[in-house]
Symmetry: C2
Subunit: 210 residues, 2 copies
């Protein structure tokens, strides 16, 4: 007789015991799959547990609740994004290359970890304070790093530079998200460079005059 397979799509076989930390990592990974695929609300704790080949109480021994589980994942990815952005801006001192590197960073970010970027950019929990806070804060951070560079080289006021920074980061986010849905119609390099060129020509139009 074979091991029973539940009706749930690809539930892993029950029975393997794991040390605490390994199990935790696996639960996070399973949760990420489910949250990314279904969004927060449509994701069931039962399904996350099933996908990890484990029962629900185990899940609750690692995370106090559904929201905290989600936040743990969200933190991982917003930090990832901010770090990529920071590194891109620090990778060179020539601004034209900085712009290119930053767009690369966003395109890289949406290309990794399945489609984990959805947790950050398309969360169906943005109305919940702790989530909203994290997402906005991280985008704000990216924008501020960008606007700091802008302010160095232009005569913009702080408020203006912030708006420009937000706009540019938004453009990077949106274009990267769009590109990732058109699997292969444009090669990654070409897309990055196209957008970087658009952005660079745009900002370099703000000399010290205003």
């Amino acid at each position: 007789m074979e091991t029973r397979v539940t009706a749930t799509p690809d539930a892993k076989p029950r029975g393997t015991r794991l040390p605490r930390l390994a199990r935790r990592r696996q639960l996070l990974s399973a949760a990420q799959e489910v949250f990314v695929q279904n969004g927060y609300h449509a994701a069931a704790m039962d399904e996350i547990a099933d996908r990890a080949g484990v029962s629900k109480p185990v899940l609750y021994q690692h995370f106090p609740g559904k929201l905290e589980l989600y936040l743990a994942l969200l933190d991982l990815h917003v930090d990832d994004m901010v770090n990529r952005c920071r590194e891109a801006l620090a990778s060179t001192h020539e601004n034209k290359l900085r712009v290119q590197a930053t767009f690369s960073a966003f395109f890289d970010f949406v290309s990794t970890q399945g489609e984990a970027f959805r947790l950050v950019f398309e969360s169906d929990l943005r109305n919940v304070a702790p989530v909203r806070q994290r997402v906005e804060r991280s985008l704000q951070e990216c924008a501020e790093m960008v606007s700091a560079v802008i302010q160095e080289d232009t005569g913009c006021t702080s408020d203006e530079a912030h708006l420009l920074g937000i706009g540019l980061v938004g453009m990077a986010e949106v274009s990267a998200r769009y590109w990732v849905t058109t699997h292969g119609s444009i090669p990654k390099d070409a897309a990055e460079q196209l957008m970087a060129r658009l952005a660079w020509r745009g900002i370099s139009g703000f000399p010290r005059t205003a």
Copy 2:
């Protein structure tokens, strides 16, 4: 004895009878308030009914379900957005002014109807097919109108122009959303013009050279 007031914040007095169409309009208005404030999931049909000064079954005599009610509102606002965008692009034949008008359109859009733009840009139902479809479709439409103009005046391929269009529309959306949260730190005209200038300098960097 006075009319009783329920504990729910600003519920209207029960008792006024309305003809069918007027009631429907009022229900839509109440629903918009609640959906915008709380998002789809946290919005309760009871609260929508209460806010309209009516009981729940009345709501169900006008809309078959919560989702349909939401979609009715969503349709209104995505159409509004696309129309504003279309009119902006048709308002002149000089491309520099077109860019300005388009940014104005987005800033106008986020300024109207309370914060109804949240239904389109920050919906917590984007994982549900009919919603996703409407939102993406409408942004796609805006982007296509923009990319058509781009293709006329540059040597970009269709794919490239589409990506640029999406990026620009995304930038308009994000910057407008950000601006609206900073009530008054930058005047509307200034913000629009700043972003329009960024975009215009960017695109005008794509001459017929490809």
